[in-house]
Amino acid sequence: MFYREAGDFKTSYQDDNQTFPIKFDRYRYYAVLFAAFAVIPFLVNDYWVNAIFLPFLIYSIAAIGLNILVGYCGQVSLGTGGFMAVGAYAVYKLMTAFPDVSFAIHVVLAGGVTAIVGVMFGLPSLRIKGFYLAVATLAAQFFLVWLFNRVPWFYNYSASGQINAPVRTVFGVEVTGPTAEPWAVYLFCLVFLTLCAIIARNLTRGSVGRKWMAIRDMDIAAEIIGVNPLTAKLSAFAVSSFFVGISGALFFGVYLGAVEVGEAFGINKSFLVLFMIIIGGLGSIFGSFAGAAFLVLLPVLLKNVLVSGLGWPTDLAAHLEFMIVGGLIVTFLILEPHGLAQLWRVAKEKLRLWPFPH
């Protein structure tokens, strides 16, 4: 009824190639953007921002990054936590070394640093494949966490070994530190997420994305038809690590404010982001959002229902969360390997004909 392409005529190639070719989709997209930028900032308070919106926005960036590598290019990485740590420590070093520069520039530069590190750890992907590579990326995870733990230069020789985000501003508005306003940090992360999502969407639609997908589907065949595996794989690692680095920088600077590397960026973080894209949908930008939202909301929901509602002890709720997440992963892999994004796609297909199927 609402959702159909009938009557929506395209008169130029530009129209034909747009990201959301169906009118309803396009308006929905604008509506979501409008709500996110112009409505939610006026409504949010401290609890909503810190419990739901910030983790959702930041994990979405990480999930988009990992989805580019795993979902589009087919190179499974278990080193996301380590790369987030690179972003966090890079932004920390930049923040303390150049206090007068805008924090937004720091975050982008931190992403760049992570991209370089990601390419370095992506080099073995040219020789080893599949889960040999997945295990090899664990080397990045453990090595990087160890490095940030043991080399005092990275945490500016602080006695505790932690890093703490000093107060930094963007256009005169505080975005880091304990006194930052909820709406400011929300908008700051939202801008980054929006930009990352637009970049990712367009990259995956273009020739770069096609090369990635060719490599994913069968790398030898792709090589034979003229896709250079070196540039395709390494560009995927670079772009992916860039996004993951940005999310790490925001995770430390804006969300947590103080970080102990083994705790915040351990192997569990790598698995969490991987789970997000499995549940959300491999090879789908929308899936990255859906997965991040799902795994951010699930613990909050469980905590509210079980601990506040039924009065269970918190450790039981935590164990149950493990079981549910693990069970969901397996269920999704069995029933719907393409995740929530596929369910969404199927729903849209159904909606096109609804309510008159003929």
């Binding site: 499974v76 073995p124 020789r127 080893i128 494949k129 599949g130 889960f131 040999y132 997945a134 295990v135 090899a136 664990l138 080397a139 453990f142 090595f143 966490v145 160890w146 733990n149 043991r150 080399v151 069968m218 030898i220 065949a221 034979i224 192997i267 698995f271 991987l274 789970f275 499995i278 039924l310 009065g311 269970w312 002890p313 450790d315 039981l316 164990h319 149950l320 969360e321 493990f322 079981m323 549910i324 997440v325 693990g326 069970g327 969901l328 992963i329 397996v330 892999l333 069995i334 390997p337």
Partner: protein, 328 residues
């Protein structure tokens, strides 16, 4: 003889012992991988789960007591008996077999023919599930496991080496016992796969699923059996590590120790798992001893991975792995 060299020798011996334990965990991986092409990330959690179950059964804990108390408001925690180790081990083994059957029935039956990486991710999900289940059943506190294995410094080695070098080597009795048990286990596994009917069927499945199926081997049975054997190996590993450092969450991380062992040795080779385990065990202990103090210590966390990574760049299939042939 210079002191450094003698210390180095002691470190080397301890590394060998640690390597045997790594090899033990790696063996569980290899068995499942060979028979079903599943790279079982949950092996470490299986070891943890087995050790927890063993402690729980021996102490007479009520399973899910935490949950029952929270839901029903009761206060149950123990049955009030203490079982001998042997009965505990047998019961745990029964639980692991049941688990193997369930895993095959509920999960991997539906994933036959999927890409290896999907199967791998499914086992990560399984690992999370079992971690939650184990904690839910038996509680998350650190437990002491004592099945009567000897522990503490081996006096004989200490005195003998003192007599020769003027410095007594510190080698734990438990490590020696673990080494012997691991060696026996490997021998049993090799004999099992070479000389029994089921073992031969298992090798046939590993070789070619379709062909094995066509000559009447039941894939389902073989897979359940392989998961059970892996459960048994996990139980042995769980007992060793649990006795050494208590039954706790970190036990499940031994899976992460075994991964580089596998990469080094090749995923498909039992000798590879053993040799790889020894190389990693010795390598990381010697590296920590020689280079660790210079660069801040605790290098054991990553050394194995970096070693395996560098090695793989030159030989992608590992030491003993099957050669990777790629076709379009």
């Amino acid at each position: 003889m210079p002191d450094q060299l003698i210390f180095g020798m002691e470190v080397f011996l301890n590394g060998l012992m640690a390597g045997v334990l790594y090899a033990l965990v790696a063996l569980g991986f290899v068995l499942i991988y060979k028979a079903s092409g599943i790279f079982n990330y949950a092996q470490g959690v299986m070891a943890l789960f087995a050790a927890m179950t063993l402690v729980g059964v021996m102490e007479g804990q009520v399973p899910f007591s935490h949950l029952i108390n929270a839901v029903l408001g009761t206060d149950v925690h123990h049955f009030g008996w203490h079982l001998p180790a042997l009965i505990g081990i047998l019961t745990t083994m029964a639980v692991m077999v049941g688990l193997a059957w369930l895993v095959q029935k509920i999960i991997f039956k539906h994933l036959v023919g999927q890409e290896p990486i999907i199967l791998f991710m499914a086992t990560i999900g399984l690992a999370y599930f079992m971690e939650g289940l184990g904690d839910m059943m038996w509680g998350a506190d650190i437990k002491k496991l004592d099945v009567g294995l000897p522990q503490g410094i081996n006096i004989w080695i200490d005195e003998t080496t003192y007599g020769i070098f003027g410095y007594g080597f510190f080698i734990d009795n438990l490590d020696i016992v673990a080494t012997i048990i691991a060696a026996i286990l490997v021998a049993i596994l090799v004999a099992f796969s070479q000389y029994t009917k089921q073992g031969r069927a298992m090798r046939a499945v590993a070789d070619d699923h379709q062909a094995a199926l066509s000559v009447g081997v039941s894939l389902n049975f073989i897979w359940v059996m392989v998961w059970s054997v892996a459960g048994f190996v996990a139980l042995v590993a769980g007992i060793m590590w649990g006795t050494k450092s208590g039954v706790q969450f970190s036990l499940s991380l031994i899976a992460l120790k075994a991964l580089p062992v596998l990469m080094l040795g090749g995923f498909t080779s039992i000798p590879g798992a053993i040799v790889g385990g020894l190389i990693i065990g010795v390598g990381e202990k010697l590296f920590e001893f020689a280079v660790g103090p210079l660069i801040g210590g605790a290098t054991e966390n990553w050394f194995a991975y970096v070693l395996a990574l560098i090695f793989l760049v030159f030989r992608p299939q590992g030491l003993f792995g099957d050669k990777i042939i790629e076709r379009v």
